[in-house]
Symmetry: C2
Subunit: 299 residues, 2 copies
Amino acid sequence: MDKAIIEKRFRAIQESICTQLEAADGKGKFREDAWQREGGGGGFSRIMTNGDVIQKGGVNFSAVYGKTPENILKALKLEPSEFYATGVSIVIHPNNPWVPIIHMNIRYFEMSNGKYWFGGGIDLTPHYIFPEDAKYFHQKLKEVCDRTNTEYYNRFKKWADDYFYIPHRQETRGIGGIFYDRLDETSEGLSKEQLFEHNCNIGELFAPLYVELINRRRNTPYGEKEKYWQHIRRGRYVEFNLVYDNGTKFGLDTNGRTESILMSMPPMAEWTYEHKPEAGSKEESSLAMFKKGIDWINA
Amino acid sequence: MDKAIIEKRFRAIQESICTQLEAADGKGKFREDAWQREGGGGGFSRIMTNGDVIQKGGVNFSAVYGKTPENILKALKLEPSEFYATGVSIVIHPNNPWVPIIHMNIRYFEMSNGKYWFGGGIDLTPHYIFPEDAKYFHQKLKEVCDRTNTEYYNRFKKWADDYFYIPHRQETRGIGGIFYDRLDETSEGLSKEQLFEHNCNIGELFAPLYVELINRRRNTPYGEKEKYWQHIRRGRYVEFNLVYDNGTKFGLDTNGRTESILMSMPPMAEWTYEHKPEAGSKEESSLAMFKKGIDWINA
């Protein structure tokens, strides 16, 4: 299967997601910026700002290639070679603090020596946790994973718990989801086509899943108190992305387009020294659930 | 010279700075939190929030020791050993966007094999650049450096330009200042006592220097527009500190106290996709000056 097929399908997924999100938002429109990468390739960034639901969101497609940078070779323990990478990457920050932040990524990576792999996932970062929404979210992820391999959900759910973790806060970024990387025929005992289908399934699940979660909470009223908590949680989001996220690191290290990489930054964030939620508050109970290993489906 | 002497003097410098900043602010008070480090040592964090001038500021002292963590050994190419580190570290975020953000650090590091070194510096991050203030700031730094070595200012000014640089933005964090690290008898041809004096001179310069800069701008009126620009520049400050700053990395890697390390985070920051200042604005002319190699004293 040629990379041109993968690239085309990823671009179609980007298009479809934008259409669905615009329809759900009802007001905001995505603006597209085409960009080229010095060294090879480029992308199409689609950004929405000040929508009705979406305060700031990016749905980015890129396909980049060229000489593999030294730091990447070192990190992945690879011989000098050429690389090719394509993917769709999404972060949505909603206006309403009752609506969760969401992140999705599907990616394909290929080396000039013939090695290739797929990676991806969807994870949710609610400011306030509703166990029934968390259950719904994880159930949908499980259903889609089960179509390829009934062990995938458990495996990828644990991977997300471990990946989206902020050691210096001893908190998970949100309620996790699924995360996977470096899947190939050898590791998975599946054909390249099957792995690609799995990645596309994840891409196609994204919009209907998030739209459902949006619609459950978009009309819940909120005030200063909820906005403040949203800003505090967004501060954690910034900490995770800038300190630990490999996608951000990879982007900055390969001279990616800064504005496209950092579209993940929230529109506004706050840091308060030693912030502690009030005893018995919804903030406090949410904070207590930013932990690894919670079985959201059967909780 | 024993490390106990250094520790004691650093702690006195922290005390003196807090007293001077409280007097200048006129309203805010520092609150002290003592903390202990698992593995050895601890510190005293002093934080002011919602002062008249200072919106959020930290003046931290720490003295930590123990087994040198693996990642530090690797980064500094050292053999397994015990370390001891003490220092004063300051970041001040003002309310008024016309008043600059400031950062100061003096530190002493010692290894169980007898090696030691001093590091430190002061750098300024104005949201709006006033060349006359920048000149004053750099002149004062030069005067203090000249007391130890007339080549120090030029050398340490360049070091700051290179250190406080955000590659992915192709911007300096602010207008620089001085930065130095790993100064010892061999590298400098000065006694340990002389190097220590230099570090203390920097520590003692800090408060009067910043108070003068505060007083020049604290009464300048500002509105939404200036607050917004302040938030955008604070976003860059966050990017630098979380992606590139060695002090932050060192702190997080040695299981330092998170709330003390991240006191450097601004109270509030914003990210706007492809933000560009208006043509001919004060924001635009400031942005154009976030560059390396500007001779502020003779500009």
